[in-house]
């Protein structure tokens, strides 16, 4: 049930994002709502359910982008694992910690996406998206602040007692 809710939420957020980006006239900057979701899943859900949900969120981004097959599910699961590892070391239950993790995850996600796009681009040119990455991180953190109350509602009644990577 929670998995379906996550997928529905991801679809809704991606749709809203695509419309918001149109009205804001942004060409290179995006509000990475999928990263916000993946970070929340990493910090607040079980290992298996979270990983499958993160994969699905990444897959939806892949479908919506209509371009590379496999890059965004891979990045989503990778970010999920890294954030989960971080959550096992640092107590990340507070909203502030969630924002900090989101900022770090968005930075890593943006850099990795740029790296893979650079690797597979024709001329091997540095992606222009790198120059706007700080603004993208800022917008994503603002989205995380706005989504925090909504995401808290999705949280399972039984919160993870002891956060650890594979537990």
């Amino acid at each position: 049930m929670r998995f379906l809710l996550t997928v529905a939420l991801a679809l809704g957020l991606l749709t809203v994002e695509s419309v918001v980006v149109k009205y804001l006239g942004l060409s290179l900057v995006r509000i990475d709502v999928t990263v916000v979701l993946v970070v929340f899943l990493a910090l607040r859900s079980g290992m298996l359910e979270g990983a499958v949900s993160a994969f699905s969120v990444g897959y939806l981004l892949d479908v919506m982008s209509g371009h590379p097959t496999g890059l965004y599910p891979f990045l989503a699961v990778l970010v999920f694992l890294v954030v989960r590892l971080g959550g096992a070391v640092v107590d990340a239950r507070s909203p502030v910690a969630f924002m900090a993790f989101t900022a770090a995850a968005e930075l890593g996600h943006g850099l990795l996406a740029a790296f893979f796009n650079w690797m597979t681009s024709k001329e091997g040119q540095v992606p222009a998206s790198l120059s706007v990455l700080p603004l993208q991180v800022l917008l994503t953190v603002i989205a995380a602040v706005a989504l925090w109350p909504l995401l808290k509602r999705f949280e399972a009644p039984q919160e993870r007692a002891q956060p650890s990577l594979l537990r």
């Binding site: 298996l48 990983a51 479908v63 209509g66 097959t69 496999g70 965004y72 699961v77």
Partner: protein
């Protein structure tokens, strides 16, 4: 063995979730995405939502701007009325020129026509991944839109339809890395190719020889030889022309004529009737048969 698999179930599933898409990306990623059932379902679900959002936002915007526009409407009305008269005179003159053009084109013996009328579409969303900037339209297969059709505005070329589903379609912009458009310099009629570079970069001018007459600021139009875009649509203006000491080709960029972040509506051009000489009149054919 089974017990071990059971114990390590989580690890195995997570490893598969991580490795499967990565391997798929490395092996098939460059080929692009084939439209499948999931794509159709996702686009089918999200497009009406996006359309409703755009409709709501536009409605609110229109209401606010209508209220503001009511001020000084009388003076504006008078001004527009005068402008209308001037434009009518201009339209008449242009009609004359258009008719003359048509006569000349027929005399030269070339026809260029579209099989169907253009399909007007509205932009309801932008790709959530910035590296692959593409636009989502509110028209799809049910409206006659098909993959590969060119998309234009009054200002020039936007791109071509990359995928179309029931009620929506995605447009690959001419700035996309995968895009190539056959172009010519309007002033000197030099032929070349405008290749997209992605990531917000201007287009690259390819296949133009160093000695070709290409200057900065030249307007580039579609040549119509790629079989996708009709001839004569504005692509952009030439910028940063460089003629190196060595090498056959010159290097230049093209600033696109259409700012894809500002457009609201576009036209999808249905399949073109290929270029070719107009068929000879029946009398000429009969004379040829006699000979």
């Amino acid at each position: 063995m089974l017990a071990l698999l059971k114990r390590q179930r989580e690890l195995i599933v997570v490893a598969a979730l991580l490795l499967y898409p990565f391997v798929t990306y490395l092996t098939h990623g460059h080929r692009g995405r084939e439209i499948n059932l999931v794509d159709r379902v996702v686009l089918g679900v999200t497009s009406p939502v996006a359309r409703a959002l755009v409709w709501t936002c536009d409605g609110i915007g229109d209401t606010v701007s209508s209220y503001g526009a009511l001020r000084g409407v009388r003076a504006k009305n008078l001004e527009l009325s005068t402008e209308n008269s001037q434009l009518r005179a201009e339209v008449n003159s242009l009609r004359e020129q258009s008719a003359e053009n048509e006569r000349l084109r027929k005399a030269v013996g070339y026809v260029e026509a579209t099989a169907e009328k253009e399909i007007a579409a509205r932009i309801i969303g932008i790709n959530p991944v910035a590296s692959f900037l593409s636009l989502r339209l509110n028209r799809g297969e049910s409206d006659g839109v098909r993959a590969g059709m060119p998309v234009v505005t009054a200002d020039g070329v936007v791109g071509r339809v990359k995928r179309a589903t029931g009620g929506a379609s995605d447009v690959e912009l001419i700035t996309d890395q995968a895009s190539k458009v056959a172009v010519l310099v309007q002033r000197s009629r030099v032929r070349a190719t405008a290749a997209g570079r992605g990531g917000g970069h201007p287009l690259a001018l390819e296949n133009a020889v160093r000695t070709d007459d290409v200057e900065e600021g030249d307007q580039m139009i579609t040549s119509g030889t790629d079989g996708v875009f009709p001839k004569g649509l504005v692509v952009g203006r030439v910028t940063a022309v460089q003629r190196k000491q060595s090498g056959m080709l010159l290097s230049a960029g093209i600033l696109p004529a259409v700012d894809s972040t500002r457009i609201e509506e576009v036209l999808v051009v249905p399949a073109l009737v290929p270029f070719g000489p107009a068929p000879p009149p029946p009398s000429a054919r009969a004379a040829e048969r006699k000979r």
